[in-house]
């Protein structure tokens, strides 16, 4: 991929992030669930063990205890329980490391009212504690249980359990962290497999956009992307078909124009030949017939020009127009163009004495003659031709003092058969002159632009490379 990464970073990044999030969250959730289950099991085990131990110790010592108990008895019971313990009987208590004040009321109530061992976890000063409380019961031989009034409480430090749980949590997080690079690798692989068809499709679309209508992507698999690929291929196919049809029609139309022009030449050759004969014989005719003959001659000349212009345009369209560049003096060529057409007196030339350049003299003559001819016909004098050059650009400017080009005309003056004013119909122009002029400029690698002078009046600017080069020959003319 040459310039793809930037184009696809968004999609790739999103796929990557989504995949990694899902994977890591999944792993984290699994690890967390495991950790919570293990924690609960640990807590339950510690609770059960504490309850059993304390119950067992009390049971073991109970038959040896006096009832009602005195302080010594309570102390013995407290010692038997071990650790932080508190034994209460009526107003008498025996405590070590456990103050009755820290016991939650609900625990006291549960112990005082019932005949079950109860436990409760509390957090005091940031340390988790397991509180175990139980009444000591008197059992009758028939199994009836009555409270003896003795309450036993014990507190067990859960710091060890806490540490174990912390270890579990750390391991869970570590598991999730270990999954992370794995998830990234997998995500990259997945993104690649998803993005490759997308990239192929993008490349195909770009080639289509660049005009390669034969571009297609091979569809892979049968997923949505394959559907999309098929759709794009179908679209490209129909675009290609229509484009080919259009090109064929356009080529047909152009060939038709070329053929028509060509076929017109033979009768025109005869007409041209005989018109001159006719021209020399008009003196013998009466007035009307002479006028008719003169009209026929003039129109034949016009027809010849039109056909020649059409042929020229056809050559541009077919790409068979050839540039024949040679060393020439631009100033001399311009002056010669004017002189050959008898325009020298009507046109002011602003040009250096010599301006060496390389171009196709015949084509530039056509352009300059067309521009000056237009200026003389449509504008007002003085018509001015300016020739100047930089190191690599030759510039020929033709301007007049007429009304200038209306804005809505400027964009169309180079269109074929575009007639800005009705007078041109009778002016002898073929309607192709400016189109041919611009084609000639472009054949040189230059351009021809139309605009208006600051002082009013139309101004055409021809720019050419100072050293025009003949392009590589195209297909041979037939």
């Amino acid at each position: 991929m040459t310039d793809g990464p930037g184009r696809f970073r968004g999609l790739r990044a999103r796929l990557l992030v989504a995949f990694v999030l899902v994977t890591v969250l999944g792993a984290a959730a699994a690890a967390w669930t495991g950790a919570v289950l293990a924690r609960n099991a640990l807590l339950e085990e510690s609770r059960r063990q504490a309850a059993t131990t304390i119950g067992g110790r009390v049971t073991a010592v109970a038959p040896t205890l006096d009832l009602p108990p005195d302080q010594v008895t309570l102390d013995r019971l407290r010692d038997a329980v071990g650790g932080r313990a508190l034994v209460v009987h009526e107003n008498r208590t025996s405590a070590r490391g456990l103050d009755a004040g820290v016991l939650p009321d609900e625990l006291r109530a549960a112990v005082r009212g019932g005949d079950r061992i109860v436990t409760q976890r509390v957090v005091a000063d940031g340390t988790p504690w397991l509180l175990v409380g139980t009444p000591l019961v008197t059992t009758a031989p028939d199994g009836a249980r009555t409270p003896s009034g003795i309450e036993v409480y014990a507190a067990r430090d859960l710091a060890d359990v806490q540490r174990q749980i912390d270890g579990l949590t750390t391991r869970a997080l570590a598991t999730a962290a270990i999954v992370l690079p794995l998830a990234i690798v997998l995500a990259l692989l997945a993104a690649r497999s998803v993005l490759r068809p997308v990239r192929d499709l993008r490349d195909t679309a770009r080639r289509l956009a660049d005009g390669d209508l034969g571009a297609r992507s091979p569809p892979r698999g049968s997923d949505e992307l394959a559907d999309l690929t098929l759709t794009v291929n179908r679209m490209a196919g129909s675009v290609q078909t229509s484009m080919e049809a259009m090109r064929r029609m356009e080529a047909d139309a152009r060939r038709f124009a070329a053929d028509v022009s060509h076929e017109l030449r033979t009768p025109l050759a005869t007409l041209t030949a005989v018109m001159e004969v006719l021209d020399g014989a008009t003196d013998d005719l009466d007035r009307d017939a002479r006028e008719a003959a003169e009209l026929a001659i003039a129109e034949t000349h016009r027809l010849v020009r039109l056909v020649e212009d059409l042929m020229e345009v056809s050559r541009f369209d077919a790409g068979t127009a050839r540039l024949r560049v040679e060393d020439a003096d631009a100033t001399a060529v311009v002056r010669e163009t004017l002189r050959a057409r008898g325009w020298t007196d009507q046109v002011r030339v602003d040009a250096p004495e010599h301006l060496p350049a390389r171009f196709d003299r015949r084509r530039i003559d056509v352009v300059v003659a067309n521009l000056v001819g237009n200026a003389l016909r449509h504008g007002r004098q003085p018509v001015r031709v300016g020739v100047c050059a930089s190191a690599d650009t030759l510039r020929i400017e033709v301007s007049d003092r007429g009304p200038g080009l209306p804005d809505d005309v400027i964009g169309h003056v180079f269109d074929r058969f575009y007639k800005a004013d009705a007078a041109r119909v009778r002016s002898g122009g073929s309607g192709l002159g400016l189109a041919i002029a611009r084609e000639n400029a472009r054949l040189h690698g230059g351009d021809l632009t139309a605009g208006n002078d600051d002082g009013g009046g139309a101004r055409f600017v021809l720019t050419l490379p100072r050293q025009a080069r003949e392009p590589a020959p195209r297909e041979e003319e037939t």
Binding site: R9, A35, V61, A62, P63, G114, V118, P141, Q162
Partner: protein
Amino acid sequence: MSDGARRGTPVPGAVPAVLVAVAVLLAGCGVPPSGVIDGGRAPTGVAPGPTLYFVGPDGELVAQTRDTGRLGTISDALALLLTGTQDPALRTGITSGGTTRVGVTHDGDTIELHLPLAEYDVTPRGLDQIACTALATHVQAGGSADTRVRVLLTVTEPGSDAGEPRGCPVVGRAAVR
């Protein structure tokens, strides 16, 4: 929507999701406080004194609590039983030879009593007295009422069933006088 804006937040909602996940994870660790949780039957075993069984006027077993201030062991209770009673209304089916030391062993669900008596020192009612007294103490100390008792005598007659495991006909039913 510009490309850059999309790139800024690759997946909308991803950041809150991560925060929630981390919060849940952190809440999962540590030891949370809890409510009151049941932890099984409360311990038992304190009593004003052991319960002894003697024979009433009609030959029935009568329970008598001997006020020693504490329940004591089965052995203690049987020693008191062998000593007899001062109550004129009660008799005993045990003829004690003065020795009151009783060995007590637990064998599974059975309590074995090694008595310093021969079979002829003990009436069948006397065997019930022994079994009931031992079982009553056993129950009062938190033991099961279904426990069986084997009374082992020093001398047994042939064909005697004195050594068979037995229960007590009244423990669980007899009224304490």
